[in-house]
Subunit: 435 residues, 4 copies
């Protein structure tokens, strides 16, 4: 197979010396800039016994020596969309700080309540984001500019940006948001309006492609682990106690799996990537029966999207972002487990905790604070260099440029033959298949 | 009105010098013992303008110079009942430490899974609790000896204790538990078996009479406040966001009120002590409408037992402890508020968080750790002195002896003319009546 | 002995109906106001066997039906002095909220950097504190208006207040600060200027008289306990490990004793109230030797002012507040213990942690957040009623008015025959005297 | 330049089917094993414009299909050395769990107090580590088997292991420890004794080569960030407040730099990799003077080994591990800054916090808990496959085998042209050179 470069669109030639030059007090200081010739491959493990397959090379993110935009005459805007995620305020802060302090951008707008605020008909004018206004916001969760779900007409959005004189738009959101960003990018391009659209990937579920780790994920795992510990405490304190914790993860089980691994107290973890079974020789009810007889308590973690094959098909509802609303796997497991053991005439005490809303609004933990800062700064560098239609990716601990179309083409899944899932099987001792 | 002394039953004369004598290295050390002549009054505020009303005097708790039991020949047992509460393990640890190290009691049993474990038919033999076994348990939540709901036959329980040679029983639990303890005490008395039954009041809701503050309550308020902060973050981040947090408090709104006060971010707090109204001039929906128009977000806290006057009457279910299962006030509010604003054609985003199970299993915070230790030690002193049929009370920062019958006669409520509720009205600005 | 009332000075007759009337939506709502005839006694334990001794009665704090000041024409000022203490921002916030929202005070000034900012010669003009400016400050430690140590001329301070048209001054600080407040009160009085001077007692050490618990203390104990746990971990991990933790407490050992009790892991706790000895039959070195031989690790907690009888007398230095600088008891113990065991030819690993500065800057914990709010609101009520020359006291869980002169006459000490110290002796097993 | 493979020594042919086979319930489950033909390159960034330089390829860590040891007849030992580091107990737990549960190893010894416990003359016999004994230890900091500094004679150590029948030794420690492990490996080899010596790299400073992130580092940065926030609070609360925080980092400034980046509140960060200057045009004192005039407060973070070029040369002392004791850069900065501003006649308030001992004893945070588990499990896989004389490395998020000699040849440094340091310069705005 052929190797390819993940080509990123550019608005034009870089015409200005980077304002970063002026900030460097050390004339001999080398290595500040990333050259356009640097790339990071997607596949890096080398197998002597296997044929070399095709690879994808991503541009390395970072400051360029020359910029496309003339900073003092350029304005930028930031929009945050979708559900809350720890770190949104950190990203906003670092974007504003970097635009103002490093590049000397004079004006940065905060779009109110997601794409909603880019449609003047909704009546929420953008606010100006100054350095003072953002200096302490990283200490709290949420997003100071507000968020919402759902799209707006790309034509209207581009018109709003042109009206504000904005040439740089940072879209902080998940794949729905980035697909919206793609439309804005395409619309601006078709109008010949030089707009750099740079996405900062946001998904607490950690399921965006070519982003090995999204901000907020670590904070979520952290909080999830604490909740699991409490479910463990509850389960241990009663006879045949079963603690069930439902965690975020619609399509991918990263939070559930990582929290399970971190906790060390989970016995069964269900994720969307692996179909589950309750009955049958390796089904959950049977293995749980055996464990309770032996240990008298158990802890089960289920990702939101896990076990959907088990749930009764209802008329599927969707939220404003167009996501299908899932059946409640946690409540379902609670009911089925209770019924099963009652049927056997055995005592059973099931506790079910769903901490999702109490997690998404947390402030970013240390790990995520650093990650947010890196993502934001690299987004600013990319925009200033005139790149557009991309999101900031993160592979092998390196930040890279990923075309939006690639990043939004499918979702990242927990690889069942990878370190995470193998670790989980080792730690829980759960069956590698429920069938 | 006449003042009275809250008389506590005693097994007989105190026949032994307290083993605490031997531990005191300072011969001139005074004040180690509490004399039986010390009392703490229930009412202490004095009003020059009002007639002096009757008062109740409680015995001051603490070590006595002489004991009823001969420590080296006495065994004790500990039972924990009802729902989890932060601090149970601290109480167990301090009971064991004090019995072993201070008094030289040789054998302390831990009854398994509440009163359930006092019936041999259930098949859970008591375990022995040594100093080594309990030395690190205060660092985790739950109860190492397990808990359950529901009673057992007092005759069977006394028989079990006699079989074990136990003459001291510590019952750690709420008013259901202490009513069970009362029956054990009465049964032993009727048999002429010298059994000291001493209750350590446990109620995360803080609703036991003559106990101004129960252990676990502070930890719960702590955690509740964090959740309220997150609900506030969620509410602020979206257009017309309303965060609803349901907190523990079946009959009394102490947790809801204290967390509201601590948070400083709550706009409306509903507690069982004050009937609520949704409609009408001062009803919640109207004041919420007005607030959202002005501020675009709001936070509502509701105690579990609040607003039950609003909920449709269903066939009332009871749990194993005989407590009525309440309707879900949080879900009810969420539905009604959403419907109301949709009816008005206004955007509305309601988030509902119910953190109860994630709170009860926490380890005790610092405040509660100290409180647990005091309660436990005073319980040991009371038992060694031959007192029985009592719980350890706590009034005006002093530990006292309260006959079980008094402590379980009704529940403590948030006084609507007290510091807590007045503070809450001041901080929230909510109406003092919903009607 | 005669009982006395702790009389508080008043600026004059209360001439206005309280603006709180207007806020009460429930006409039948009773009990909102505290009458001037309500008092709380200092001594409440009653001993049948002892002669009744004299008692002190404090006025109960709280809102009065009528006010001295005409709220719409009154301005107030807040000053914070001395070292940081968790909760300062909560107090500022609640003072501002209550003045503005409850009483309708139009203007509240924040004095910059303590009394320093009341002298115009220092060049720091007061800032105006609005509701918006303070709405989120309770989430962070420190004090947004700044603090400093040391006095200014009372004449200059009163002149500054008169210049600003301020008739209410809240002094948030320890006994040095309140002694300064006393001078301001006296100066204003001698000038016939109606100035309500109301102190909010601030001492992380919890050593102010007639204040059973000061804000910030609980947060400090919380943090201290965590550090003790780490010292315990360090000590256990090495051969003959000794962890020494020095905690705040110049004259009183409340933090050291409470953290010791909460931790349950401390073996020896030294406080200023009890002279210590290293040598001799019950000296620390001997008992430590015995313990290490048996357990191979130990944890020692020392209050800052403990063991000063052991330290070499140096020329005593004072800080800007006039406090004597203490010798470093922690370092001294580390050196002496190390030398002692080396002299015996035994391995020894001493770790010394002094977390003081990392504690004082913390945000208030939940407990303290509530306490701050109560103190502040009661200070506002007292000031509006025209009371002056007082601090808000707190006895038996009731807020009271205490004349500054009484509150600053000596310091509160850990009673060696009280619940706290007896509890500590029980938990640590340390000797009740080192001699 | 030639590319090379980092060859790892093996004890011999792998003679047994891995016991992991039996655990896999899914016969069709693929990808459980790592083949010996998989490698991970050290350099992965590709530059079109540069000549390809030599690369180093590391073996990918992970379970092998066949093992060298016959699990049921093999015993293992674990030793932890050097200073405490968050996660030691997690590593011990995961090693024991994996050895027992995955491979069926019957006996695992815990060596007491580091290498010290491998010399019988010191009198500390190894303890047996069962699954029950380790099941809850990951919740606390420290190391349950104890630690110490300093070497023992390799001959004696191998003799001890042979006496115990141990064929697998896990050495958890920093480069001193791993150099000791190298000697044990060489000694065993020279004796022809089949001993698998597998190191788990432990350095809170994160300075081991070919390990992009060591366990404990994240927890340390987390805690350091909290302390920085407090130093910031302290600095802001007083006039010309300067908060100085000294953090761990003898040779490498990773903790200082990462905590600075995470905090977002630091103005100057000194690390060992970059010589510092106080005086001169870009020296710290000058830039600090300028900042205080403008902002009135500042925060400085210094790694332990930073600025050693500034400190007076004293007779260099060494600790038991042979590490040079550094001069106290924090105290030095405090004194010099105070003197400088006093000399200028300006007020100055310097607060210095050194939280080192309060950090190392913490329990692992979530991130580190997962990392510990991965490191430990891969160490077990490596040992079972008969590999020896290696440590588990971690490059580009992949675990690899690194010969001890390579891992201990020099220390990892913060690259001054890398993402971390460039991010730090951007966030702090500090000069890129102090000269």
């Amino acid at each position: 197979m052929q190797s390819t470069i993940a080509a990123v669109d550019r608005l034009g030639e870089t015409r200005y010396d980077s304002p970063l030059h002026a900030r460097d007090t050390d004339p001999s200081h080398a290595g500040q800039y990333i050259s356009d010739t640097q790339f990071v491959p997607l596949h890096i493990t080398f197998d002597q016994a296997a044929e070399r397959s095709g690879n994808i090379f991503f541009e390395k993110a970072g400051p360029r020596e020359r910029t496309f935009f003339d900073a003092p005459r350029t304005s930028a805007a930031i929009v945050t969309c979708g559900g809350l995620c720890p770190g949104l305020n950190n990203v906003i802060r670092s974007l504003v700080m970097s635009l103002h302090c490093h590049y000397g951008i004079q004006r940065v707008y905060g779009i109110r309540y997601g794409y909603h605020g880019m449609n003047p008909a909704n009546g929420h004018a953008p606010v100006e984001l100054t350095v003072d206004a953002v200096s302490d916001i990283h200490e709290t969760g949420g997003t100071i500019i507000g968020t919402s779900r759902g799209p707006e007409d790309p034509k209207v959005m581009v018109e709003t940006l042109r009206g504000l004189g904005v040439n740089i738009l940072f879209t902080v959101g998940g794949d729905g948001t980035q697909r919206g960003a793609l439309k804005v990018y395409e619309e601006a391009k078709s109008q010949g309006y030089p707009l750099a659209v740079v996405g900062v990937p946001k998904t607490v579920d950690n399921d965006i492609q070519y982003v090995s780790r999204t901000f907020g994920f670590g904070t979520a795992v952290d909080a999830a682990r604490s909740v699991i510990d409490i479910a463990h405490t509850e389960a241990r304190a009663v006879l045949n106690g079963v603690g069930i914790v439902k965690l975020m993860g619609r399509d991918s089980g990263f939070i559930a799996a990582a929290a399970t691994l971190a906790s060390g107290e989970v016995n069964y973890c269900l994720i969307p990537e692996l179909p589950a079974a309750l009955d049958g020789p390796r089904g959950l009810l049977g293995v749980l029966e055996e464990r309770l007889a032996r240990k008298r308590h158990a802890v089960i973690v289920a990702a939101e999207g896990a076990g959907q094959n088990l749930l009764p098909k209802e008329t599927q509802q969707k939220d404003a972002s167009g996501n299908i609303k899932f059946g409640d796997i946690g409540g379902f497991l609670k009911d089925r487990i209770t019924a099963h053991f009652r049927g056997l005439g055995r005592p059973i005490n099931v506790r079910y905790i769903d901490p999702s809303y109490a997690i998404r609004g947390l402030a970013a933990n240390t790990e995520d604070a650093v990650l947010c800062d890196y993502f934001a700064r690299n987004a600013v560098h990319a925009a200033m260099s005139g790149r557009t239609g991309l999101v900031i990716g993160y592979v092998h601990n390196r930040f890279v440029h990923v075309p939006i179309s690639m990043a939004t083409d499918g979702r990242k899944k927990v690889p069942l033959d990878g370190e995470l899932w193998k670790g989980l099987l080792a730690v829980t001792g759960q069956p590698s298949s429920w069938f």
